[in-house]
């Protein structure tokens, strides 16, 4: 859709007052009578006190010089602070409280040194440099028709001499080559990372892996999980010093709570629990933040990032917030020695949803 069809007369007219544009303040009565809104031209320049009174100008000069001098002193202060103030000195400064003395001193002196240069320059410009307004003409940006004609003719000539339009074989193979070669660049990006495959579907959990308390590093017994408390667990064998600890814990992190079995509303949840102890993925199904807020009375957990709220007594279904599906539950039981163990991996991918999740 072009707007060529809009006739020029539909557009508002330019004001016919340009001829007054440069007249300095001569409000002619004639013009006023013809068009009361005509442009009277630039108003006459009004002198500042510094323009008339040399003493005022001197005062301005001294102010500017004072500011520049302050800046010099502040820089000296910066260097002195750098050399003399220990990096770990904490000082009390009202109302900021206890803060790093070095950071405060360096920042204030540097800031002052810079600010005074700026203030001096601006004061100089405002009070001592000419403040008489001047006008520059604007020129149309689009080229004159002759220029345009010349350029188009030149281009035609150049295109003709290249014979690109005539020798189609050259043109087509060149376009082919230019289109293909960026492929190499794209191919090179292939090794940025592995293919997704089923990596997002598996975690370290498997049948028989003990639930290890994240804080104490000890395997959990049912008696360790008190009603009303939220316990975080990791799979046995995963140590903080492991090379891939961060990546593995990002999927395997577990939260464990104990409910009264009669309070568990979801049938499968009850089956997968042990004496009311349920284990859920700690990774929010929204965008993957670790869930960490537990409301004991209601058995709700809340993700502090985007406030998705899950009901742990009802299959961890979403009851508020932007998460799209329930938290995956880990099926648990106790082994012969009385420790909590996993009965397998999560049956669905943990964390945020993705296209292949299904």
């Amino acid at each position: 859709m072009s707007s060529q069809d809009i006739p020029e007369e539909n557009l508002p007219a330019e004001r016919a007052a340009d001829e007054h544009a440069h007249a300095h303040g001569d409000v002619s009565v004639a013009a006023n009578e013809k068009d009361p809104f005509a442009d009277p031209g630039l108003p006459p320049h009004e002198h500042r006190i510094q323009d008339i009174d040399e003493r005022a100008a001197k005062r301005s000069e001294r102010t500017v010089a004072l500011l520049f001098t302050l800046s010099m002193l502040a820089t000296v202060g910066f260097i002195a602070s750098f050399v003399t103030i220990p990096a770990d000195r904490i000082v009390y400064i009202f109302p900021l409280g206890h803060i790093s003395g070095l950071n405060f001193a360096l920042g204030m002196t540097l800031g002052l040194a810079l600010f005074c240069i700026g203030a001096g320059a601006v004061h100089w410009a405002r009070t001592l440099m000419s403040d008489e307004e001047m006008a520059d003409e604007r020129h149309a940006i689009a080229a004159e028709p002759e220029v345009k004609a010349k350029v188009l003719a030149d281009f035609k000539q150049g295109a003709k001499e290249s014979a690109l339009g005539r020798r189609k074989l050259i043109r087509n193979t060149m376009f082919g080559a230019l289109t293909l070669f960026p492929l190499s660049g794209i191919v090179l990006l292939r090794d940025l990372g592995p293919l997704p495959e089923d990596k997002l579907r598996h975690t370290l959990w498997s049948k028989g892996k003990l639930l290890v308390n994240m804080n104490t590093d000890e395997p959990l017994r049912p008696s360790d999980v008190a009603v009303g408390s939220l316990t975080f667990a990791k799979p046995e064998g995963l140590e903080e010093h492991d090379h891939d600890f961060q990546t593995e814990i990002a999927k395997a992190a577990l939260m464990i709570v104990r409910l009264q079995p009669e309070n568990i509303k979801d049938k499968q949840e009850l089956e997968w629990s042990h004496e009311g102890i349920v284990a859920y993925s700690k990774i929010c199904t929204h965008v993957g933040c670790p869930i960490s807020l537990y409301e004991q009375q209601t058995h709700h957990v809340l993700c502090p990032c985007h406030q998705s709220t899950f009901d742990l007594s009802d299959g961890a279904r979403v009851i508020f917030g932007p998460a799209g599906h329930a938290l995956p539950q880990l099926r648990i039981g106790v082994n012969d020695e009385g420790y909590l163990e996993a009965h397998g991996d999560f049956e669905e991918p943990v964390g945020p949803a993705f296209w292949e999740r299904g």
Binding site: L106, L112, G118, W124, A125, K199, A250, P322, P352
Partner: protein, 552 residues
Amino acid sequence: MSTTTTPNPSGAGAPGRSREKAPAGERVADWADGRLGIYSLAKANMRKIFPDHWSFMLGEICLYSFLIIILTGVYLTLFFHPSMNEIEYHGSYVPLQGQLMSEAFASTVDISFDVRGGLLIRQIHHWAAIVFLAGMFVHMMRVFFTGAFRKPREVNWLFGFLLFVLGMFTGFTGYSLPDDLLSGTGVRFTQGAILSMPIVGTYISMFLFGGEFPGGDFVARFYSIHILLLPGIMLGLVVGHLILVFYHKHTQFAGPGKTNKNVVGMPLLPVYMAKAGGFFFLVFGFIAMLAAVASINPIWVLGPYRPDQVSTGAQPDWYMGFAEGLIRAMPGWEINIWGHTLVLGVLIPLVIFGVFLALIALYPFIESWVTGDKREHHILDRPRNAPTRTAFGVAWVTAYMIMLIGGGNDIVATHFHLSINTVTWFVRIGFFLGPVLAFIATKRICLGLQRRDRDKVLHGRESGIIKRLPHGEFVEVHEPLSQEAMHTLTAHEQYQPAEIGPTVDENGVERKVKGPQKLRAKLSTAYFGEDGQIPKPTAEEYKEITSGHGHH
């Protein structure tokens, strides 16, 4: 070649001085001119006129904070280790002793505690980034509300828009580098958002992180994006932006002596050299003092990143708050069909984010299509004189601000003792209702201000003097405006709404009116019809009132 005996090769000295050696500065300039042509360059630019208005300095704030970011950023690269290798911390910050952390985090703690002045530079860098983005936001609003984006400046609008968008991503990659608990959570959020993209999501995630999240690569990769790729592009855009500002010459507000064909103000040398140059130091000084007194991103308090840990009140930097708000307010819709998942709860916010930005980027082209105006515009609009545009802009800002509230819904809830659910529902409804209300209110305010301007021109200014007439009537004396003021208040142009024209031509044959044309006529009526603007006073109206019964 030269046979002249003058030692001055340029021979450009003033008469009577021609046989003397030119001053050293002039000789250097001559040398440079012979190779770079600096005299021609200076002729056009040295005394270039810039108009004065407080709002024109907003762009300067952006430019200067950008320079400050580059300066301090180079310093930080001297000490920062962009590596995710896990090490045990044994530096001078006692509470973290012996903790496992990435080298990136450890080196950031070292910069903060062991490098003298390192904390200051880090804080200046971060504060300057916040000022930079806030500055760009406000600068963009200034350009928008005054119509400075109109021809010939649409391309520069796009340059500025790109700078804003790239600035957001540069900021995001930058604050993710220390690999602290807060920023790591933000990266996790980004990864979750990437996963929500249909078909390609998991692949992009694997390729970006070199495998599963978090892996061991993203800090190094973000580092090269943050210090090289994005700032490189942005530097080019900034230079292009400035060249275009010089080339187009600055816009100005209407006023006596100021027309669409000139630019009135003061010259670059010396006034703006001093003012703008001085302003750089003012901005730098201000940010340095801010960094001295206000802590920003104290990563040692947050601790190193662990994917299974998080702190409450997790917030991104303010410029990501809009996206964060969208993500928080969106209901968790998920569609599962044919073994695939469409994660609408995350995808829709991402799309809205893009559409919202695109809307403001494309606005100049939409408006010029509606007006059909192909002329250059160098006189700025007062926002009131373009009510529909202003209302649209305020609606946009309203939606943006409501989503900023949404991005901090937990903070709002805890600070004002509100339910998080209430805040979220307010944001959900407000996002749709707020812009509509803002649009209506803004348009009405603009029209009211236009009426007031009209009254002022036609009837003069209310002087506050009450006069009692001989027969007892009280009147308020109105003072006529000066011609300068009258000109300024009536200098704006007013468009007539575009009409489709008769649907039947002179021979009675029905003319087809295409959909876009109808839409355009509708938009044009909304912009410039009776409800879109108050006709500005004409000279005839003025004369009738002033010549006739004088006052009322």
